[in-house]
């Protein structure tokens, strides 16, 4: 990919030849990239384009296979993350990280740079640091005011809402008085009201002379506030320039808006303003056949239904607040909504990966709310989680074998059937799944779930992190599955494509069903267009404790 240079005289961050790949997957491959000083630069691109990996590499949280990068002319290649931060290049994380056990105020006070009291030698001499501490406290208070967190200052950070956590994170980053901020999806999970705030803050900070690079999927935000946009696809910058320029670049539209897919025949696609318009128009030109609704059709007795489902990761802050939805036989039903609306959580609750604190889940007529996930699977439910959806150390064949675990006798037949659907897997049968490329992984994940021919299949973002081609493939597989009589409940960040192939859809907002309708209607609904622009994929918050602790199989 040819270097993308900017006209800016001063370069804040310069990368050259930075490469990093995971097993079969090339995550980052940046020839040349320059982030201009004092500007608000947006880094966009589909999921898995390597945006976050790039952040990790630059800030020293991940090693690069090759390449060098410098910060205001100072070579910081391979520098320890904490040194990078001290050099003034401070990042935030995609999954908000707050120190739950600390108060909001302490979260900020911690962040202040160059604290003498943090030196062991001085820690026991309050006299040596009390003044500085007081100064920091004032700055912290000011920031809290600015980010409307002042009233929460003495609450443990654990009590903050998702949006407030975002704010806290930005505030905390500012507390370090950085020269440049790297914000990883600062708007993800922030409700519309706060969104405006955050964006305003970013602009204000830029005006104060701070350099900001932020990853964002919310095109409105990107278009609205950024001075400079860089688009990444499969780890490589494919466009850079003003928002308008980038939005108009066909490559970007293809890669990011992922239009090149089968759209429903005669789907009336609205034409939103700006880049999506281009996307939309291109989309509508493409004509493909929507999966035939099989006998019984969407109006038959639901094969899967959830009523007033309340669930989440900790009971005091449920993410789903009473969601009701159902899937008819042979239906493809889409769940769309903004980041943090609870899409993946809904699937998890339905699958039984997380317990429901209230409401019921039914498979057919059977109430399965109390059953463990493997029991629901035995009753014909199939579930493909979003990330970590294959067994990395098992071979492809073994992965498939696990798919039909409950009915070993059907192994041969299902194997042949599925391999017919996914011929690409046939010659990788002996490879450990961990070595597959992203696309192959997704196919394998789908294949594994289709081994037993489930009555209903729950798909969590089958196209996440896939190249346009692979995305297309994924969606074709989903349609194929549906044609083979499997009902599908699908969560997608790529709402357009998703709705295009769905019979019906639900739009989630703040853990509730905001609106519902047929795929076509929703696709036409301006509110959906708004949402779909804002949609990104999100992962459940996982903390180190969980990963250390023995897995809970209950």
């Amino acid at each position: 990919m040819s270097g993308v240079t900017t006209a800016e005289p001063v370069v804040a961050l310069a990368l050259s030849g930075v490469r990093r790949s995971f097993g079969g997957v090339r995550a980052v491959d940046v020839g040349q990239m320059h982030i201009p000083d004092g500007k608000l630069t947006a880094l966009i691109g589909p999921n898995g384009a390597g945006k976050t990996t790039l952040f990790n590499i630059v800030t020293g949280f991940e090693r690069a296979d090759a390449g060098r990068w410098s910060f205001y002319g100072r070579d910081i290649t391979g520098m320890d993350s904490w040194r990078v931060a001290r050099a003034g290049l401070v990042r935030t994380f995609q999954l908000t990280r707050v120190l739950a056990e600390m108060t909001v105020l302490d979260n900020l006070r911690l962040a202040a740079a160059g604290q003498r009291g943090e030196r062991l030698s001085l820690a026991l001499w309050p006299a040596a640091w009390r003044k500085q501490e007081r100064a920091n406290q004032e700055r912290a208070e000011a920031l809290l005011e600015r980010f409307r967190l002042a009233d929460k200052r003495h609450h443990p950070a654990a009590q903050l809402s998702g949006g407030q956590r975002r704010l806290l994170e930005v505030a905390r980053a500012l507390m370090t008085q950085p020269r440049m901020l790297l914000l990883d999806e600062p708007l993800a999970g922030v409700n519309p009201a706060l969104r405006e705030d955050v964006m305003a803050h970013l602009v204000a900070l830029r005006d104060d002379g701070l350099t900001i690079l932020f990853i964002e999927h919310d095109m409105d935000a990107v278009m609205g506030i950024s001075d400079h946009v860089i688009c990444l696809a499969t780890g490589t910058p494919i466009a850079a320039g003003t928002p308008a320029q980038v939005a108009a670049t066909p490559a970007v539209i293809d890669a990011y808006l992922g239009v090149s897919t089968s759209a429903p025949s005669g789907a009336r696609t609205a034409a939103p303003s700006g880049a999506p318009a281009a996307a939309a128009s291109r989309a509508s030109t493409q004509v493909a056949t929507r999966p035939q609704a099989p006998a019984g059709g969407p109006d038959g007795d639901p094969v899967l239904s959830a009523d007033g489902l309340v669930s989440g990761y900790n009971s005091d802050r449920p993410i789903l607040q009473g969601v009701s939805a159902h899937v008819g036989p042979g239906e493809i039903v889409a769940i769309i909504g903004a980041n943090g609306a609870g899409k993946s959580t809904l699937l998890k609750a339905v699958a039984g990966a997380i317990p429901a604190t209230a409401g019921t889940v039914r498979l057919g007529q059977r109430d399965v709310t109390k059953l463990a996930m493997h029991q629901r699977v035995a009753l014909g439910l199939g579930y493909v989680p979003q990330s970590r959806n294959v067994f990395p150390s098992l071979t492809v064949e073994e992965n498939l074998r696990m798919g039909i675990y409950l009915r070993p006798r059907e192994w041969q037949r299902s194997r042949d059937r599925v391999l017919a659907m996914f011929p690409a897997l046939r010659d990788r049968l002996a490879t450990p799944a961990g070595a597959l490329s992203g696309g192959q992984r997704q196919s394998l994940a789908l294949a594994r779930a289709l081994m037993p021919v489930p009555t209903v299949l729950l798909l969590d973002e089958p196209s996440a992190g896939l190249s346009p081609v692979a995305q297309e493939e994924a969606f074709e597989h989903v349609c194929a599955a549906a044609q083979s009589g499997v009902s599908v409940l699908i969560v997608e960040q790529n709402a357009r494509q998703c709705l295009a192939i769905s019979h019906r859809g639900y739009v989630l907002e703040q853990g509730r069903v905001a609106l519902t309708g047929t795929g076509a209607d929703l696709l036409a609904d301006p509110r959906v267009v708004e949402l779909y622009l804002g949609s990104t994929h999100q992962r459940p918050p996982e903390n180190r404790a969980d990963r250390l602790a023995p897995p809970l199989h209950s």
Binding site: S21, F22, G23, G24, V25, A351, G352, A353, A372, M373, H374, Q375, V377, A378, G382, Y383, V384, P385, R388, N389, V390, F391, P392, S393, L394, E398, R401, M402, G403, Y405, L406, P408, P432, G434, A435, R448, A449, P452, R544, A545, R547, L548, A549, P550, P551, L552, H553, S554
Partner: protein, 328 residues
């Protein structure tokens, strides 16, 4: 990280086994400077036997860790339990040792299953963290060990059979029939386990659970049952390990506690969660221990095994055959 390391590991596997063998051979060669080849060969043989016993006793610990993340400091008590049970059957009830061993293995399986069912499953439901769980296992070890002392008393005892045997000699190296049997049994059991994990559907389910419990559930695997199976397997193998360990080294109330550190060292060094690792680690520990006595005071023989452990962990935290995967 995952994919990267996994593939790296895969690619390197054959090479790695070679490296291990080379290292062992090298150690032996180096020692030859201090001792006659016969001594070295003899020490290596003895070390191999002890190492295989360690591997046999430890592989369960390693699998339990891989599937549940728990480091079971009470694993040594399974070893003691097996030996004592066999002793009771052999000496008190007068069963032939082979039969007694069988009983011990069944008993070990039962013991393993019951601690999982009675203690660890409830604790997991409870959401008890790794460290708290380790402390529980320490408590369990103290409890069981002293129960043994209470009923079995402090003296060490021998079985009724195979206590003293005529050794075979070949080129000055001597080998006892029972030691040969021990090695064969250990190898057979470990190989069987390896094949079970690789080939059988249930075995694959075990590996799947170790890989990703949630996804396993999503595939219809009752992970609770898998973990139960792993515990009973671990208990059974450890019990068998105890039986063969006592063949040469007598039955005593704290025999498991005494070998625990070496067992942990072995499986960790080899890489937790892999049979291959347990064997390699056990062999290294066993052989290093024995070889060191040829040129260092034997009261220090374990020091060298432990140094090997520390060294390897520092340079390769996930062990020789381990995957970096679980690191988090």
């Amino acid at each position: 990280m995952t994919n990267a390391t996994v593939t790296a590991t895969r690619a390197a596997l054959p090479r790695r086994s070679v490296v291990v063998l080379l290292a062992v051979a090298l150690g032996a060669a180096a020692t030859a400077a201090f001792a006659s080849p016969v001594q070295v060969a003899q020490a290596t043989l003895d070390g191999a036997r002890f190492g295989l016993v360690i591997a046999l006793s430890g592989v369960g610990l390693s699998l339990i860790f891989a599937t549940t993340g728990l480091f079971n400091f009470a694993h040594g008590e399974f070893v003691t339990f097996g030996a004592i049970l066999a002793w009771l059957c052999n000496v008190m009830l007068g069963l032939p040792l082979t039969l007694a061993a069988a009983v011990a293995v069944i008993g070990g399986a039962a013991a393993g299953a019951s601690v999982e069912y009675g203690i660890w499953r409830p604790l997991r439901r409870h959401g008890v963290g790794l460290v708290a769980a380790i402390v529980v296992s320490i408590g369990l070890a103290m409890f069981t060990r002293h129960l043994f002392l209470f009923f079995f008393h402090g003296q060490s005892r021998s079985y009724r059979e195979y206590t003293v045997q005529q050794a075979w000699h070949l080129l000055g190296v001597q080998l006892l029939p029972k030691d040969l049997v021990t090695m064969l049994v250990a190898l057979a059991a470990l190989a069987a386990l390896g094949i079970f994990l690789k080939r059988s559907r249930t075995g694959q389910a075990v590996r799947a659970t170790a890989d990703d419990p949630d996804l396993s559930q999503a595939s219809g695997i009752a992970t609770d049952r898998v973990v139960l199976l792993v515990w009973s397997l671990g208990g059974a193998l450890a019990a068998l390990g105890g039986v063969v360990l006592a063949l040469d080294d007598q039955v005593s109330w704290d025999m498991g506690f005494r070998v625990l550190l070496l067992v942990i060292a072995g499986v960790t060094l080899g890489g937790l969660g892999t049979v291959r690792g347990a064997i390699a680690g056990g062999l290294i520990i066993g052989v290093v221990t024995q070889l060191s006595t040829l040129w260092a005071p034997s009261e220090l023989k374990y020091v060298f095994a432990l140094i090997a452990l520390v060294a390897i962990l520092i340079f390769r935290p996930q062990g020789i055959f381990g995957r970096a995967q679980r690191i988090g």
